[in-house]
């Protein structure tokens, strides 16, 4: 059971929703950095949340990527054990060679993930792909590409306990539901909507 797995220093994401302008730089930065073609697979998505009626609309955004859950349900349901959580930093990684492919497996990981993190490109029996928290960059002392690209510095990343000290332990945000089952490794500074 992965909730019992001891992670040396769990990494996490900080998202300041009040700073996010919905500019989409992060989406394209991720596509470029990881060379993901335009198409159905997007490791990072930005949801826009609109509420209210003219002249009092409200608009905000929420960034959706793999939140490197403390207890990832995708790992539990994968029939091939193709998904695992790294012991050093808690990054959740898929081994695409082990993955059976969505058509064979039925996409059990994407069915169970509350955040629609598992992605597939437009090919037959696509293998699951997902945000890997730019694990390659950490080894060079660099933060994920989305964090480094944000024009309003709405994102940060690092050891979760350090983020908690720096930013608190907010789990609420418009357009986001913190899953107690999965425990996503994310701290949020929420945008408060003027009207609902």
């Amino acid at each position: 059971m992965h909730s019992e797995m001891k992670i040396k220093l769990q990494l996490g994401l900080y998202f300041n929703q009040t700073r996010c302008t919905g500019c989409y730089a992060c989406i394209v930065a991720c596509k470029d950095w990881h060379n993901i073609p335009a198409g159905p697979a997007s490791w990072l998505r930005v949801h826009s949340i609109e509420k209210g009626i003219y002249p009092n609309p409200c608009l905000g955004f929420f960034v959706v990527l793999c939140y490197q859950c403390i207890d990832p349900p995708c790992i539990t349901v994968c029939p091939e054990n193709a998904i695992f959580k790294r012991e050093d930093d808690g990054i959740v990684v898929v081994d695409r060679k082990r993955c059976l492919g969505r058509d064979v497996c039925g996409g059990k990981c994407s069915d169970i993930c509350p955040y629609n993190v598992p992605q597939y490109d437009a090919e037959d029996n696509p293998k699951m792909q997902k945000c890997d928290f730019c694990l390659e960059r950490w080894s060079e002392g660099k933060k994920p590409i989305c964090v480094c690209s944000c024009p309003t510095r709405a994102l940060d990343a690092g050891p979760l306990i350090e983020l908690q000290v720096k930013y608190g332990d907010g789990k609420k945000g418009e357009g986001f539901n913190y899953s107690e089952r999965c425990k996503p490794s994310i701290i949020i500074h929420p945008k408060l909507y003027l009207a609902t």
């Binding site: 730089a25 003219y54 002249p55 080894s139 480094c148």
Partner: protein, 736 residues
């Protein structure tokens, strides 16, 4: 050459920059392996980092686009059919040169119409210098007049302050207690890099931010505490009403006004109704603008009493039928409230800056390639509206930027200075981006020859006889200076020009050979750039080139007119009176009723009060989108998948027309029709629609545009000072 860093996968890292016509200047760490750009990183140097936008991250898809123009091509089908055949560079350039000579010899140089835009705004290859200088040296040419982005703002700045260098650097908003964004959407327009970051920081410090805009933009949603929707083309009325409140309640800074301005009394008389019997009260402004009198009163008091307050006037409200009055009015209010020349204040000329070195911090820049003396300009007298100090060509021999199609169509018979036979297009996309697309389609068939320098098969390139492929930004060297904190950026070449593309300067050199003007080739690209830097504050050219950036070290944000306010005796304003001219004697002397000496409100034709609203009830505005820079990047898959290109329409207007979200609708008026999907939303005021500009004009066999290009609908008239009026038009919308 400094050390070459190698990272994971043994990729070389090269610093460069980007400055497409977005308003920004950003840095890029370009990863290169075996001569191929593999991926990009945003600036990871010291803060304030110059991080780019979504478009910048997609640059690989521009550079390696399969639909890039690879070779010179010549037209083989009907003009506009898009049927071309590949030819060699020597055939292409021989043809262009011989056509230039033929037209010059047959009709005279005024028959050569040269059109350029802001497709690239860097200091050497950008704007029109490279070809302008070439044509001036060869024969002369008919040029255009009016700066399309912001002629109204430039004109108003010259009249009011005697200069166009009127803006504080963007980081100065950190000193503001109140920021009013008037038609400003930096999330999408950038304008400039980091301005959104400074607005975030200001907001987090407790600065109140108010956004005045017909749309509830991402900028409004993120930064503003209050959104004030306003009918397009009516902004001046609200500003005058604000002045009324300040005057009536004695909130204006009379000490500042007395010391630094002239003509306030005449403005006051107009505002109070002494001049024309119409007091410009908030109740007067309410039906005109759609903004309630209460809101206007509250804003005036806030702006008048908060010190310092920055009124940031966007340039979109200046692209209206009387746009110069908007800018004159914002500058007048900035003066009435004493916010000129102060930290946290603003002379209300913000949008005049940041991507150019000449509108804010006074960069030292060595000589740029000159446009040179154009003999055709001397063939006709100077226009009456030309201002003494505004040193730009204003000869009647020039064609107004918006009237190029009209001029080609009508020539001398239409009152133009010449009949135009040859059309040379560089750094621009006039068929797509100028008003009244239908005229372009008709006009271009009149031409004897048309040459376009381009990277992609744009709506304009489709009509050419010859298209010359230019290389992209990272296949040549250039420099730019500007910024929310001032910096010089070296837009460094990363790879060799791809396919057979050439840099604009290279193309011009080869044309110069054929035109018999070897003097054009006096300096290489590197020599021009070194000369720019030699005359600048950058101490070491090679170090600057390697790092791609030189930051000007300022102890505090730059404030325009600080000296004029702190030491007026030694630093008078550069106007005739030496003061801020709320009243301009120069304008009074011209006796042009629609260019009065004080800011005034005029009801615009095709505005919300025009009787034409019975036929075309909706006001059209044409705003930018985050997936393009004007027409650039339109075919890039990573950007296309971000959002659909749709017309924004309020839920109530859509419901009345039985239009649902994503339905195909037609938007039309007497000038033309487009078909485009609808975005039904609460985020735009009823009575107004937004068709995003830059979408590629794609007429079907019936002449109906299917690309969503708003310039099928916009008006090619211009404001009294010469501003383009994209944001003053009336349309109707129906389910398609």
């Amino acid at each position: 050459m400094g050390s070459v860093k190698r990272s994971i996968n043994q990729e070389k890292e090269v610093m460069s920059g980007c400055a497409h016509h977005c308003g920004g200047i950003c840095l890029w760490k370009v990863h290169v392996k075996d001569g191929l750009i593999t991926r990009l990183e945003a600036d990871d140097g010291p803060e304030p980092q110059l991080r780019g936008c979504a478009k910048g991250h997609a640059l690989r898809q521009q550079i390696y686009a399969p639909d890039r123009l690879k070779y010179p091509i010549k037209r083989i089908g009907q003009r506009g059919s898009g049927e071309f055949q590949r030819i060699s560079w020597s055939e292409a350039l021989d043809t262009v040169a011989s056509q230039l000579k033929r037209v010059k010899d047959t009709y005279g140089p005024s028959a050569i119409l040269f059109s350029y835009g802001g497709g690239n705004v860097s200091l050497l290859h950008g704007m029109g210098r490279i070809i302008g200088r070439l044509l001036a040296m060869f024969s002369g040419y008919t040029g255009t007049w009016s700066a399309p982005s912001w002629e109204a703002a430039l004109f108003a700045s010259m009249v009011t302050y005697g200069t166009t260098a009127v803006a504080n650097t963007g980081d100065d908003v950190l000193n503001s207690k109140l920021i009013i964004l008037w038609g400003v959407d930096p999330v999408v327009t950038i304008h400039s890099t980091n301005f959104t970051w400074y607005l975030i920081q200001a907001k987090e410090k407790g600065t109140k931010i108010i956004s005045i805009d017909p749309r509830y933009t991402e900028s409004t949603a993120t930064f503003a505490h209050q959104w004030i929707p306003i009918k397009p083309s009516t902004d001046t009325a609200m500003l005058l009403a604000m002045a009324y409140v300040m005057i009536k309640e004695n909130l204006h800074d009379r000490v500042f006004i007395d010391q630094y301005t002239m003509g306030f009394d005449k403005f006051r008389d107009y505002v109070l109704g002494i001049e024309d019997g119409i007091p410009k009260t908030p109740s007067w402004a309410e039906p005109i603008t759609g903004v309630s009198a209460t809101v206007i009163e509250k804003l005036s008091r806030e702006y008048a009493t908060t010190k310092s307050a920055a009124l940031i006037s966007g340039i979109a409200p200046g692209r209206t039928a009387f746009g110069e009055q908007f800018h004159r009015a914002t500058m007048t209010l900035a003066s009435m409230t004493g916010n000129v020349g102060k930290h946290g204040g603003e002379a209300a000329g913000r949008s005049l800056g940041d991507q150019y070195p000449f509108h804010t911090y006074p960069f030292k820049v060595g000589p740029q390639m000159p446009y040179g003396d154009n003999p055709v300009d001397k063939e006709a007298p100077i226009r009456n509206i030309a201002l003494k100090r505004y040193k730009v060509p204003r000869s009647y021999a020039r064609v107004h930027f918006a009237k190029q199609a009209d001029a080609i169509l009508k020539g001398k018979a239409g009152g133009y200075h010449a009949d135009y036979k040859l059309f040379f297009v560089f750094n621009g996309n006039p068929v797509n981006q100028h008003a009244y697309a239908k005229k372009w389609v008709e006009a271009l068939h009149q031409l004897e020859f048309m040459v376009v320098m381009e990277q992609f098969m744009t709506s304009t390139a489709k009509y050419a006889d010859i298209v010359l492929p230019t290389c992209t930004l990272w296949e040549r060297n250039d420099i730019i200076a500007g910024g929310t904190t001032p910096h010089y950026v070296y837009l460094k070449k990363v790879i060799e020009p791809m396919y057979e593309s050439k840099s604009p300067l290279q193309i011009a050199f080869e044309l110069a050979d054929r035109l018999g003007i070897p003097e054009y080739k006096d300096k290489s690209e590197d020599e021009w750039l070194r000369m720019l830097i030699e005359g600048s504050e950058v101490p070491d050219y090679d170090d600057f080139k390697e790092k791609s950036i030189y930051r000007v070290k300022l102890s505090e944000p730059y404030v325009a007119f600080k000296d004029n306010i702190e030491d007026p005796g030694n630093h008078p304003f550069e106007t005739d009176s030496g003061k801020i001219e709320i009243y301009s004697q120069e304008l009074a002397d011209k006796q042009i009723p629609l260019l009065p000496p004080i800011p005034k409100y005029f009801d615009p034709p095709e505005g919300p009060n025009d009787p034409l609203t019975s036929k075309y009830p909706l006001q059209l505005i044409t705003c930018r989108t985050k997936r393009r820079a004007h027409t650039q990047f339109e075919t890039l898959p990573w950007l296309r998948e971000l959002e659909d290109n749709r017309v924004m329409i309020n839920t109530s207007d859509a419901k009345a027309r039985r239009i649902q979200n994503n339905d195909l609708v037609s938007v039309f008026n007497d000038r033309g029709k487009i078909v485009i999907p609808a975005m039904v939303t609460e985020r735009i005021m009823p009575g107004v629609i937004n068709v995003p500009q830059g979408a590629w004009f794609s007429p079907d066999e019936k002449g109906i545009d299917r690309g969503g290009c708003p310039n099928v609908l916009t008006n090619d008239e211009y404001s009294p000072c010469g501003a383009l009026i994209f944001n003053t038009a009336l349309v109707q919308v129906e389910k398609a």
